[in-house]
Subunit: 240 residues, 2 copies
């Protein structure tokens, strides 16, 4: 049996758009929320969900698949700012500027739920709890970004990759899967870009982990052989 992709659409009722829409106060009229959620879209690998400079109209909740977001610098440099799976809400950074500020690209066939912001605002005037949920989601995003700052500012190559793999693994678990084996939907070069490393370094660290008996690596198929060791590396503990 081939390992399930980390990102194949799966039921994920405890996160994402559900988090945003269905966990509001008990006695709210849910049918009204349904109108937010119903607008579904599917995009193929390589397609853009939105691009830098596009007029901001909607936020998106990922239902299944995976999306990468990346920032374009003036000088042409690119920084991958995140990989996102089922449950993630994208496009929140566009609220200030009324334009999207990054590229959101599907890494594989991906289903999203499109939420028109005007509609959202309208509804949230009636349902204060919805606003609060949104604040929470954004607050969480700020927190997550900070962890990444720590990673980029303080960690070695090995620590970065270990941390990254664990976060992929945890994301997978959160969506209900439990296998130690999964498939990465992004390229080595995307991973490197995200972690502030070159492709070569990423590749070398993968090889090193494999030699150390921590990982099994077969191209995009990753299996975690020794979670504890991986955690130890991620935490910077210098012991095996």
């Amino acid at each position: 049996m081939p390992p399930r992709s980390a990102y194949t659409p799966i039921a994920c009722t405890n996160c994402g758009i559900y988090q945003l829409c269905y966990s509001v106060g008990g006695d709210t009229d849910l049918s009204v929320l349904d109108t937010l959620v119903k607008n579904r879209k599917t995009i193929k690998r390589g397609d853009f969900l939105y691009r830098t400079g596009d007029q901001f109209r909607a936020i998106y909740a990922i239902r299944g698949g995976s999306v990468k977001t990346s920032l374009l610098a003036n000088d042409g440099r690119v920084q991958v700012t995140g990989f996102h799976v089922a449950g993630k809400v994208l496009g929140l950074d566009a609220i200030v500027t009324s334009q999207y500020n990054c590229e959101a690209t599907a890494l594989e066939t991906t289903g999203v739920c499109e939420i028109h912001f005007s509609r959202f605002e309208e509804l949230s005037k009636k349902i204060p709890d919805l606003q609060y949920k949104m604040l929470k989601i954004m607050s969480q995003e700020i927190l997550d970004n900070r962890e990444l700052m720590m990673l980029l500012g303080k960690m070695s190559g090995e620590e970065r990759l270990a941390t990254y793999l664990l976060s992929m693994f945890n994301g997978l678990k959160k969506c209900g899967a439990s296998s130690m084996q999964f498939s990465l939907s992004m390229s080595r070069s995307d991973i490197g870009n995200y972690l502030g490393l070159t492709v070569e370094t990423v590749s070398r660290v993968f090889s090193r982990f494999q030699k150390m008996g921590v990982l099994g690596v077969d191209n995009k198929e990753i299996s975690i052989v020794d979670v504890e060791a991986l955690r130890a590396v991620a935490d910077g503990s210098e012991n095996a």
Copy 2:
């Protein structure tokens, strides 16, 4: 005449708490907003505005002075996540967890405006525009953090310091000052930590900039001699 500190309290009516409270819809009852703003506090250099794990009760708008925020890792490592001056709203990352998730330390005598979150929520139910302003502020914070990711992930030491100095310079300008000379309220080691560099590297780059005729450096007193050159370095243009 000694150069004015970048962070001495100054009138800053176009940003921060004003942004949050006074730029809401025209016909709102402003007196009600005043109750949000009135709760003022002053803290001394080294004092904490809040600490990791503290119960979340209020957000803070800086009125004058400067604050550094830093993240504590399990293994004791510290990551400075930002330096904040007049206008900045702090504590937003605490909304999800109901606890503050970082340390906020005054770098000098600093005045803040304490806004109780419960009070804010209450008011924002009546004034939807207030909620929207908050979304915008948080959205902006997400954007800012992303720039930092680019800095940490892609830039060389010189680019980092140049970018940092320009952002300090711009922050100063936004608050009304216009001098090319200012004083840094944070230590070299804080700067290094923030930029993902060691103290030694920061010091060396400062020296190099001085030798290049880009900066004048006298301990904490910085004067920008050649802004264009500094911008060129920050943008990664390899020409002087």
